[in-house]
Amino acid sequence: SDSPALKFKVVAVQGRARSSRMTLPHFTAHTPMFMPVGTQGSVKGMTTQQLQELDCHVILGNTYHLENRPGSELVDAMGGLHELINWPRGMLTDSGGFQMVSLLHLAEITEQGVTFQSPVDGSAMLLTPEQSIAIQNRLGADIIMALDDVVPTTANDPARFEEATHRTTRWIDRCIAAHSRPGEQNLFAIVQGGLDTRLREISMQQLVARDLPGYAIGGLAGGESKDDFWRVVSQCTAGLPPGKPRYVMGIGYPLDIVVCSALGADMFDSVYPTRTARFGVALVPEGVLKLKNAAHARDFRPLDPSCDCMVCRTYSRAYLHNVVTRGIASAAVLVTYHNVAYTQALTRNMRRAIEEQRFPDWVRGYLGTMFPKGDVPGWVRDAMDAAGISLEGVVAPTHAPTSTPAATDKSAATEGGAAVVGGGAAPG
């Protein structure tokens, strides 16, 4: 039952939200937590020291990329990914399968594994559950992910979802059998089932029966409606065991992180905060701040006056407006730095609010700042209802409690003359 490489202790619960300590071989992570993505052994432009300063507890590596370069055997020879990149804290690697399916045109899933066309010579290649685990064993992350059969939630093929759900279970057994370092690495299973509650239920039952150290909710963040998204998360967080970490894969919009945390999820990852930074978009409590906007040319305020990160303590929007996305790498790093600081402060504040039993208030304050006119999207209101958090005083009376179309984007809002766009932006 208890994994030798992971101790998960829920320290506070309020409603469905919880604050926990997850002790991994390299670090005791506090959840809810956001994990920045270091695709190829580096979170774009950030030093590992900066990531520590920014209170990152776990970072991600992508198995597909790392196996291409530098190769897991080299990583192993260098003493593991932690050693290679000099990162003393928690690390998580994905299975590689999702990257293949999403990056390579000719990837195909068979019972054996994921077949794909080699990007080098076009020949047919195969990633099996055994291979994925062997590679991840060599990379040496604290948490490794099972190879699952991912079907995009937007696919309209019930039979395929049925197949994927059961195949994911068959593969988890192959992953468990292949896992050679259970004493040092934690294998997480990934719940599949698309948008079908019956399949999600089956997937959870089968995977929970394997008693793994943690569970991920997969197949989301792929273009499904926000309404579908939160309902799947809600079903899975309710159905997964309370004493194990719950990881919603691919989630990086601050609003999504808050909603999922309110529903009882613990871990999130996405390239969104770091990628969007390189396009000059900063995360702020009001939503996002697009630095390219000419309105910032004479705006001498920090990116986010409520943020105490190095960038916000030092730089003005006006400076960043002029240099971001114009080929000066240090400027892109500055916005990345802030965005990571923002996500870490967000989760830190949630943890504290849960521990101090004022989480519903905190959520109301968060939503009130992001939606000052009270136009909280319907899916958020519905999700908060499911989470048992009242939005009284936050949602404007004109906005009826339910039945608004899902995934409404918040239109551009202005704040103090500066262009700030609300946070409910659609994926893409």
């Binding site: 190829q40 052994g41 580096s42 774009k44 432009g45 950030m46 030093t47 590992t48 020291q49 900066q50 300063e53 990329h65 196996e67 291409n68 370069r69 530098p70 190769g71 897991s72 055997e73 080299l74 020879a77 260098m78 290679l84 990149i85 000099n86 003393p88 077949t115 080699s118 990007p119 080098v120 020949s123 047919a124 290649m125 195969l126 990633l127 099996t128 291979q131 062997a134 590679i135 040319a297 004479r298 001498f300 190095m310 030092t314 730089y315 003005s316 006006a318 400076y319 002029n322 240099v323 114009r326 080929g327 000066i328 790498a329 240090s330 400027a331 892109a332 790093v333 500055l334 730095y337």
Partner: protein
């Protein structure tokens, strides 16, 4: 003594310079500004539009060891986006706007990594420059308005830049214009040193808005000057009210003359003793002239200046430090300050210099070696890594020398090379920089291979530290009277030819297994025969890097 010199130079100028040691024409000095002092010879940190390329300020900039002494910026990059009115409105000058507090800032008239002049003709009134926002005609007034907004510690006067191969007639015109513009800049400098005259200047501008500012010019000028009031007035009372934005700035007179020694001498003599000149800038060099001609050109400019002028005025050479040799050659001629294309252009993308810190190299003269080792050790101590340092790589066999097959000589290594794939050692053993204290050659090699931004960050952190250490070693050599020896010794390091890699070395390295690969490659490289076109192939370049060679995917 410094106080006396200061009083002697300019009563209103806080920034001043004094020479402390000489060796031949090379000299060590100290340049004092209100934002800190610079020990010369010094290389200034390169910035583009005011931002260091990959090092964030303050954290990564502060991690450079020995510390960055000063920062160079190109004033022309502040003509538009942002322009002077925005910087003025901010009120903190370049230091505040760019978050470079604590660093003396030298505003140059050009970027050392590009040449923004000559795409369109200039006139007697304005010089044409091409910057990020397109072409601009820049008058002394517009230039000085920008300088006054930036409030740099030192700045170069407006120069009609011409390249070294320009025809004599055009060079003569350039000299005439540069001299006239110096007078205009000096006048405006004097005005901007005093608050009242600055306001007069602003009133003049309101009456006659410069091109580009448009109809809103007058309307903008009012709030911006009140913004200035808010900043300078609130701080230090009556004294501040009397001083203008350039009260602490030193004007460096642009010395033109293109590639012609006689013209350079004439130009320098014409401006040498003008009142208000606080130093000199050797303009128009590094524009294609053969490096071996450069000492004569620098000598022509500086030789025409009275010794007394040089005694208390620093010499800045923009655009010259594109290689360590050129830096040394400029210093040998008496240059005090250089901007730096070194890190930005030459070393940054792929190589970390290793030999500029003359530590533990057999070839160095006994005295300098002892001294240098002391210096290097001093640089490294006090910087001992607080956290676990990466394991050191096995030292290369003595006498083996650098692996020339992979583009290395005794002054740099090419981290693209696959021979560093498994190298757990720091970029430069003994280096106390951020990168060497935390990361391995293998990691930087991997980051280069995968085109990760962090490669640039880590290389710039090391290379910048290295250039600073190089300057420190140069200063030590000068003050100990062994600069020429040092220069010779350094040239001998670089004399190791960049021998291209023999093909068999390349294939052998790729085929060999992990632990022995490096040794095998090094040994083979040292004994290998030459083959010109393989040189590029030996260094695993961006193209080759796209190829996953060791992946464990199962072929079906």
């Amino acid at each position: 003594m410094i106080a006396a010199l200061a009083a002697q130079s300019m009563a209103t100028t806080a920034t001043h310079f004094s020479v402390r040691a000489r060796d031949g024409k090379a000299r060590c000095g100290i340049l004092t500004t209100k934002n800190g002092s610079i020990e010369t010879p010094a290389v200034l940190l390169y910035t583009r539009r005011g931002g260091p390329l990959s090092l964030t300020s303050p954290d990564m900039l502060a991690a450079v060891t020995p510390p960055v002494q000063g920062v160079q910026l190109d004033a022309m990059q502040f003509l538009e986006n942002p322009d002077a009115s925005i910087i003025r409105e901010h009120g903190g000058g370049a230091h505040g706007f760019l978050c470079l507090e604590g660093f003396p800032i030298v505003a140059s008239n050009r970027d050392p990594t590009m040449y923004e002049y000559g795409t369109r003709p200039s006139t007697d009134k304005e010089v044409h420059v091409s910057i990020h926002s397109g072409g601009h005609m820049v008058s002394p007034e517009r230039y000085m308005e920008t300088i006054a907004a930036l409030k740099p510690d030192l700045f170069v006067s407006l120069c009609d830049e011409v390249t070294a191969d320009t025809k004599p007639k055009r060079v003569a015109t350039a000299t005439k214009r540069t001299t006239a513009w110096l007078d205009a800049c000096l006048q405006l400098h004097a005005a901007y040193q005093q608050r009242q005259q600055q306001q007069q200047q602003e009133q003049q501008r309101q009456a006659d808005p410069p091109a580009g500012q448009g109809a809103n010019g007058a309307a903008e000028a009012q709030p911006s000057s009140s913004g200035n009031d808010g900043v300078s007035g609130s701080g230090s009372g009556a004294a501040a009210a009397e001083t203008g934005p350039l009260s602490d700035s030193l004007l460096l007179a642009a010395l033109s003359g293109g590639g012609q020694a006689a013209e350079r001498a004439r130009a320098a003599a014409a401006v040498a003793e003008k009142e208000g000149v606080g130093g000199y800038a050797l303009c128009g060099l590094g524009t294609g002239e053969p490096p071996e001609r450069r000492p004569a050109l620098i000598g022509a400019s500086l030789g025409a200046l009275p010794a007394a002028c040089l005694e208390r005025r620093p010499v800045f050479a923009p655009g010259l430090a594109v290689s360590p040799e050129e830096l040394l050659a400029a210093v040998a001629e008496g240059v005090d300050l250089l901007d730096c294309a070194l890190v930005a252009q030459d070393w940054r993308p792929e190589a970390a210099v290793t030999g500029a810190q003359p530590a533990a190299v057999d070839a160095s003269p006994a005295t300098s070696q002892a001294q240098a080792q002391g210096g290097a050790a001093a640089g490294a101590t006090g910087e001992s890594a607080p956290d676990a340092a990466p394991a050191l790589a096995p030292a290369p066999a003595p006498g083996l020398g650098p692996d020339v097959s992979i583009g290395a000589d005794d002054t740099k290594i090419n981290l693209w090379s696959t021979s560093y794939r498994l190298d757990k050692g720091p970029l430069l053993p003994g280096c106390g920089c951020f990168t060497c204290r935390r990361h391995s050659r293998a990691y930087v090699h991997h980051l280069l291979n995968t085109h990760e931004m962090l490669a640039d960050v880590l290389l710039e952190a090391h290379n910048t530290s290295h250039v600073m250490a190089f300057c420190q070693a140069i200063r030590e050599a000068i003050s100990e009277g062994r600069f020429e020896l040092y220069q010779q010794w350094f040239s001998s390091l670089r004399a190791a030819p960049l021998v291209p890699a023999p093909r068999h070395v390349t294939s052998k390295r790729r085929a060999s297994g992990p632990p022995e690969a490096k040794e095998a490659a090094v040994a083979a490289g040292a004994s290998g025969e030459a083959g010109a076109e393989e040189a590029a192939g030996a260094a695993e370049g961006p193209e080759a890097a796209g190829e996953p060679r060791r992946s464990k995917w199962v072929r079906v």
